[in-house]
């Protein structure tokens, strides 16, 4: 029996599911080239280039960027640029911190026995088994109560008052990212042969050198995939950010959500297209790296 034999039923449902996954994305990308500013129906592409933007009613006839008119508009949109910068800042800082402390915790849970170990292990599952909104409003309550108390106690007023912002978003993101990093690194440590470390110690390396030269290089792929997972979780997060952001710390998902409740121009589609293209290139690069590693 050929193990790769497929029943037609499986094949047909596979095609249908892939169609279901991609049809909305294709539509989204198509509309980012829409000539219609109202963006209700697709009115064709913006076919010609010109010095200035020429419009006729709600139709854009020609633009300095031609069909890429909405992408040019997007690049001039300061709100989008700020939101993109916030999103990346939050993701980078939160990923670095959560990867470091998550890896430490994974080592502790896998290698050591300590009194709080069962509690620590269990607490990591909290963000997985409770809905994000429960965590979000809990954290919001914490920050608002704590800041109100601190502002009153230190009698902070005006500019120096503690409010929600980039800091609170980063701290909250770390809370839901750490468990994922820890669980991924732990999984990697489980399949780890202790003989290598024992050999290093026998050869006279101390614990730190052993960690540096043996343990860390061996768990590095796990650490990197944990970090990558954490990074994408942060980029994609809506709910926690929604409850913990403040003025000046809007991220891209929050910005897009805000737009959806107002007027939608093809700029939103252009933004989505840029996002999808970035994801596409990132995943592609990752696959190529993995393939190369698998071959060598």
């Amino acid at each position: 029996m050929n193990p790769h034999r497929r029943s037609p039923l499986v094949l047909v449902s596979t095609i249908l599911v892939y169609f279901f996954l991609y049809a909305p994305i294709v539509g989204l990308v198509l509309y980012s080239f829409n000539a219609s500013r109202a963006n209700v129906t697709f009115e064709g592409f913006i076919s010609s280039f010109s010095q200035r933007v020429v419009t006729e009613g709600s139709l854009v006839k020609s633009s300095p960027c031609g069909p890429f008119h909405w992408f040019c508009e997007l690049s001039k949109n300061n709100e989008v640029i700020d939101a993109a910068r916030n999103t990346l800042t939050i993701a980078f800082v939160a990923t670095i911190i959560s990867t470091i402390i998550g890896t430490m915790a994974a080592l502790a849970l896998q290698r050591y026995n300590f009194r709080l170990k069962p509690f620590s292990q269990l607490s990591l599952y909290i963000p997985i088994v409770i809905p994000e909104i429960v965590m979000g409003i809990g954290i919001l309550t914490l920050f608002s109560q704590f800041f109100a108390w601190l502002n009153a106690t230190l009698s902070l007023t005006g500019e120096s008052r503690l409010t929600l912002g980039l800091g609170t978003v980063i701290v909250s993101h770390i809370a839901f990212m750490v468990p994922f990093v820890t669980l991924v690194v732990q999984a990697r440590l489980q399949g780890f042969d202790k003989a290598y470390e024992e050999a290093a110690m026998d050869l006279g390396a101390n614990e730190w050198i052993t960690f540096q030269r043996v343990t860390f290089p061996m768990i590095l792929p796990g650490v990197l995939s944990g970090a990558l997972l954490a990074f994408t979780l942060s980029l994609d997060d809506f709910v926690i950010t929604f409850f913990t952001n403040g003025p000046g710390s809007t991220t891209l998902p929050i910005y897009v959500y805000g737009l959806l409740r107002r007027i939608i121009t093809p700029q939103v589609n252009a933004l989505s297209t840029v996002w999808i293209a970035t994801v596409f290139l990132a995943v592609l690069a990752l696959q190529l790296i993995q393939n190369r590693e698998a071959k060598s």
């Binding site: 193990p3 790769h4 497929r6 499986v10 449902s13 596979t14 599911v17 279901f20 909305p24 994305i25 539509g27 989204l28 509309y31 129906t41 402390i101 430490m104 915790a105 502790a108 849970l109 050591y112 300590f114 009194r115 709080l116 170990k117 607490s123 909290i126 997985i128 409770i130 809905p131 994000e132 909104i133 429960v134 965590m135 409003i137 809990g138 954290i139 309550t141 914490l142 109560q145 770390i174 809370a175 750490v178 820890t182 999984a187 994408t232 994609d236 809506f238 409850f243 891209l252 998902p253 897009v256 959806l260 989505s272 996002w275 999808i276 994801v279 990132a282 995943v283 696959q287 393939n291």
Partner: protein, 307 residues
């Protein structure tokens, strides 16, 4: 001091886990306790919280009302129970649909030539990594009165000379269901794929040698061995669907209100954090109960971290 730390393995472990523990306690456990405390409080006129011990928010959630039509002092108001029930059934329907769609695809990828598997998985990762809000927006565009779906149906009707009025697809329960299925489908495909891929080909050969046909092989070999993936996927789908408010907000308008919307509005529009906290705890308890019974029956797969 360093010498003592070097010898004390337990202290080393505690020290390594310490930062993570601080975060878990400060940003998960304390907020949950605060939510519990607030849920027993009452709303102050300025939207703040008066701390007290009152079960009023909970009785209100389960239908106790003092605002009655016929002048009675207390009556049953099914509004919030309906919202809870709607969220539960939607989460259940979404999970079932997602399993039905994800399974064949995961099976197809797992049985494909090893060289091609990565490409097929790659195609699943693109929609997964495309932002959550963007994916809802994509469906908003498709389902609008002037959207692609109405356009296609209209065109077909035109060719067949059938009179056609654009359908109201957006802002319906169906739109919310489709949106949820779309959002969470990849979270089911990946864990199921992981557990299917682990199945050794020799098991299929053994089943064939012993005279099992395709259906029997599937029911007796493939399905039981892929259950950890289905369980992990269910947890990754059911729990977030219960708490999501964006999909219903954008695709359901004000028509489809779920627990998530109820909670969000208490914190932002209606300004009663005490009632929102109570609703949020009920939501948590509901999901924990469902997860507990479900995982007790089927086990808790390690596939949970894969997605």
């Amino acid at each position: 001091m360093f010498q003592r730390l070097r010898e004390n393995k337990s202290a080393q472990g505690t020290l390594l886990a310490f930062p993570t523990m601080v975060w878990m306690i400060a940003l998960l456990i304390i907020p949950l306790l605060l939510t519990l405390i607030v849920s027993f409080g009452r709303r102050s006129p300025d939207g703040g919280v008066i701390y007290s011990f009152s079960l009023e928010n909970y009785t209100r959630l389960f239908g106790y009302s003092t605002d009655c039509d016929n002048g009675a002092s207390a009556c049953f108001n099914p509004l919030y129970v309906q919202i809870l029930w709607r969220s539960l059934t939607l989460a259940f329907n979404t999970t079932v649909l997602v399993i039905l769609m994800a399974y064949p695809l995961a099976y197809f990828i797992a049985r494909a030539q090893p060289k091609r598997r990565n490409t097929f998985l790659f195609l699943v990762l693109i929609p997964l990594w495309t932002n959550f809000v963007i994916r809802v927006y994509a469906w908003m565009m498709l389902l609008r009165k002037e959207g692609a779906i109405n356009l296609i149906i209209g065109q077909v009707a035109h060719w067949l000379h059938i009179p056609f009025q654009p359908l109201e697809l957006l802002y319906t329960p169906g739109a919310v269901l489709v949106g949820m299925v779309y959002e969470f489908l990849p979270f089911m495909i990946l864990p199921i794929y992981t557990s299917l891929e682990k199945i050794d080909n020799s098991l299929y050969e053994a089943a064939a040698d012993l005279g099992a046909n395709a259906v029997k092989t599937f029911l007796r070999v493939t399905l039981p061995l892929s259950m950890p993936g289905v369980v992990a996927g269910t947890i990754l789908v059911f729990i977030p669907v219960m708490g999501t408010f964006i999909v219903s907000d954008i695709l359901g308008g004000r028509q489809v209100i779920l627990v998530g919307n109820l909670i969000q509005r208490q914190f932002l529009d209606a300004r009663d954090p005490t009632f929102g906290s109570a609703a949020s705890l009920i939501l948590m308890v509901l999901t924990l109960i469902v997860t507990y019974f479900y995982t007790r029956k089927f086990g808790f797969g390690e596939e949970i971290v894969v997605a």
